[in-house]
Symmetry: C5
């Protein structure tokens, strides 16, 4: 997640340098052509280019809107994970005896679950960095499954089951814990949905083609064929705007992909860890994750 | 569901070849007409065509937006089915004795339900490919009903009823299982709603007519009547953009129709099967569905 | 609900014939005026008309969007009615003894409730076509109330009350049934909200005036005043597009009004009847409602 | 709420007469200026005005969209109040003995609550028109609080508490009634949110300034400076469209403000009263509220 | 939150004075350049500037839309906090003995929680202004945690636990209180999400660049290069519109940032305090927060 109010211009430019080079080339080709081939003077009226420009703005706005909605949904899901993790511990403290060993265990499972979900969504090594939260036996169990966070949910379910069998919690408390775990399973599924569902690529491809078409049509407008340098400046400045927004939309679409615009899952997992450990009145509280330059992962 | 970030251009073009041929023909007719009938020179001002072009962009954006919402809703419903299927098994493991035969039975019913829903939405042979998950008696029962997934829900309800009658689960656990089954019935109903509700076709028909009108008006603009070849290139490139987006909207509207852009129901059903079988600690785990070329069904 | 992918063009045209005739008249009047009154040559620049044309497209898109949302909400509410009707029967079969007479009674009340809601929303004779589902005494009771579906809800509540008094269901089962009935009451209220809340008519009236203004301004543009026939063709083709979309928006706004674009309530009620009777393993299963021409009611 | 499909044109015009007079004045001033000060001929190209016109259309559409959403949300909240009021009575009839005096009391409290909420949102005398629904002691109690509907909720809570203390309802039934009351408290809070949150006025002010700017720029376009009368007709017709939509947006924003476009709270409260009294099988059923001219309050 | 229907123009202008000065400078530079360097006459066609102007309007509308949604979501979350705070007290009064000391304690915790959340979101001194609501021991406890509102939630949970241990409430009542507390934890998490998630700044930066580009292109249009004074008036009036809307969007994005457009959290917390104290029938009721000039904090 980007945390600065202003992103370095260099960063923005770096993301779209290839299309900008293509625009410069197109500008040169179609700007010089009439000079070497005087017979070739298509003179496309500027109305064609401006119509295309407005069409691109409209389509781009929709794309950004939908990409933003995905990105915001992703952030909302992780917000729900934060809430349910905190509530889970408060519920345990309401329904259990404070010093129960299983209380601490389920709370630690929850921290492990967050880190595991973070790493599995980012396609990183799922079983590293938090293994100490589980004992050896648990680790053996979850390694057998392909979906590690779901396997941790099963561990939690089993622990709640033991609480009930030991008569530590009543029937109703068991159900309330189950409801919270069900919500966490649902949040995990929602993250997987966003991760695995590619935004229809046709839209982006059609937009890209349109921007290049716009550049070509604009550079062939008779009113622009006076000054090659000025023409390229105009082409660059408008197409840059389109490409930056297109790139932004592209990144917001995939909020679990190790971009700078990602949902800050590692940082949120750390916040959850800090909150849970403080609620448990533990001593060793880790530090919050520090931002890298202008973003937070 | 399309899983590649880039769709082969050939595929896109193939989808819209008929309208493009019509555009070429219209371009020829209205481009050549003034040459053979010099008296016929309508000279429609380009403002008419550009206004229509902008109008089309606006209407198209709305259509894509609403189609995308349908497609995303369909995917979200199946995401909820994934979540509820997993939660159902975790609930059973929380409330039942681990080795209870009915636990495995309800879980297998759930796998069968997913495959049956997939096939019934795609209008394929509903009772094939997963029959081994049900015993003969169950198969007889569900064949009597016209809505097979709903019939499987009834089998699950009956099994939960038996659990309660055998005193295996308490009153409250029974209710929680019922709540999950109710959510699954609701997800099924939501899929049927999307499947059976045709997006108002007037909108798409009006858009199509507008695009052809746009092509005609543009080809009759005086500023374009210089070079037939160039004119057809311009007509093709802009109308191609419109037709691709129109086609995209059309496909996203119907996410259960055996398109490449479908919700990947078979693949998700397989994921559910793998997850459930691993949660049950079974041995024979099937492989995930492999994508075909650039999409997944 | 329209079920064909293509609506006959004749049907579309029939809906908007009056405004189209007005457009032709306006085109004649403002096209011929300068010929008879040469001094009258307003020559409104085409920019005015194109601006108005784009403004109309923007406002029209919003109107269609909001109308579509109403229409889709109406369909979603009836989807929820389908789901809750099915779940109600499954719940009864879970909580009750299979052969209990009240089970069948509540299920039949549910079928009656759907038909009664359908008819009361369409302002048809509410008490016909399904009376055989209720006995005489029940019919007497509900006739005393002005809201028939709500009266049937009261009958269901009473039946659930009897089940509990007879000790047939436990406290918790009673509550679950009540929750489902509450959801059905809410769905009914949502339908009434859509039915009774007129979409602000100012918007549609302002749009209509704008389209006629657009026609007048366009017909007075100097660039168009060359060929009366061509001018009227252009006026007709663009305004037709606007009027069709305006009409579409108008119909989608009111999804319970006996239009061809209505939510297919009768057909959905029949589906509910079929599903419920099959779940009850009854013998006399009615046929699904057949579509009329290109739509389903 | 407006209930006619067509609003009298006089009514629309009356709402926007001041801005229209300003437009006429502006048209005169900028139309006559060049005649008296021939040196003053700004000749602003029409492109500036058309761009501004399109910009206004876009911004206006968004404003109407958001205003409509507020208005629809307000209507939806009152729809939920209707549903919960009905369900509350059905719940009481399910859980209580039919002739219990408290049943009738809680139901009457509910009718009083609706009228009180209606009047408190409209800043009318809250304690009039429905006082007979409460006894003297209750009236004394609620007068001590600044939020009358909330005070009635407290009376209801107290009554439910008595039902439980008298052992008339079980633990679970008590909770279900509490859940319904909590939903009603939430609906009240949602109404207060809409009532007390002023839509950001900057947007509307910026739009108003833009419309006047548009009028000035348009009247200074060289192509329009031929015929003063015609010019003012054009200015009026386009700006009237903008002002009507701006006014509509303005009214939809505030659905509890004694406008003709208000949520019909008094009428809905009456419907609730009729429904509740019929469910209670009472004799004196009041008449529905009759519309005033073309709207319903 | 702004409470006046009209904001002083001075206030609006003050917010955007820097960009307006830049616009004046740009207008001077590009307006005077051709006079001193007659060879430099780029003559960019006005179509480029108008296209950019329309593109800016479209992108701006989307930004305002999304910013408004964030702002409205923030207000909705605090609306839910108001509702849940009221319901919590009503629930306690339903389930507890009226004079129970813990009832008053939990209600006072709730008031403290609201003020603490307000101050922690606004990055003010969290522990001031409401400390008297907690006793010394409680204050010690919550100071140990980094998230003060969450620590207060833990105090509430502990108090509910004591109620259950003292047998003051039943199992089911305990759960209902827990559900309300869980909702409050969720509302807190939602506020943190909005506070900590920076709206993608690329969008705003790209918009700003576009507005300056628009100014430059417009000032270089040949049709405008006649009258320097008039030109700057036009540049200022249109760019002012864009900058005001851009600024509005910017402020709505961050509703917890001590702006005049903030969610009025202090005022809402005070309302909650008044409501709770009146429900508890206390004597010392504080006054509502008074607005400062034209806004409420």
């Amino acid at each position: 997640m980007i945390i600065n109010r202003k992103i370095p211009f260099k960063f923005l430019l770096n993301e779209i340098k290839i299309p900008l080079i293509i625009v410069v080339l197109l500008g040169f080709i179609f700007g010089l052509l009439p000079k070497y081939f005087p017979n070739f003077s298509p003179e496309i009226p500027i109305g064609i280019a401006t119509t295309l420009g407005i069409a691109i703005s409209i389509l781009l706005s929709y794309k950004i809107n939908q990409s933003y909605n995905r990105w915001w949904e992703a952030r909302t899901i992780w917000g729900a994970i934060v809430n349910d993790s905190r509530s889970l511990v408060l519920q345990l403290q309401l329904y259990l005896n404070e010093n129960d060993e299983l209380l601490r265990k389920i709370a630690h499972y929850q921290i492990a679950w967050c880190y595991a979900l973070d790493k599995s969504l980012r396609k990183q090594d799922v079983l590293s960095g938090w293994e100490n939260l589980l004992n050896k036996e648990d680790l053996e169990k979850i390694k057998k499954q392909s979906n590690i966070p779901l396997a941790i949910n099963q561990l939690q379910t089993e622990a709640v089951r033991k609480l009930y069998e030991k008569k530590t919690i009543e029937e109703f408390a068991r159900t309330q814990l189950e409801v919270t775990l069900t919500r966490l399973v649902a949040s995990m599924g929602k993250c997987e949905r966003i991760k695995n569902t590619v935004f229809p690529p046709t839209y982006g491809q059609a937009l890209n083609i349109s921007i290049y078409l716009f550049v070509v049509f604009l550079s062939l407008s008779p009113v622009l064929q006076l000054n090659l340098f000025l023409q390229i400046i105009i082409l660059l400045s408008i197409s840059m705007l389109f490409f930056i927004l297109q790139k932004l939309a592209h990144q917001l679409q995939d909020p679990f992909d190790n971009h700078e615009t990602d949902t800050p899952m590692t940082s949120l997992s750390r916040t959850i860890e800090i909150n849970i450990r403080q609620l448990l009145d533990e001593k060793d509280i880790p530090e919050p994750i520090q931002p890298k330059k202008f973003y937070l992962m």
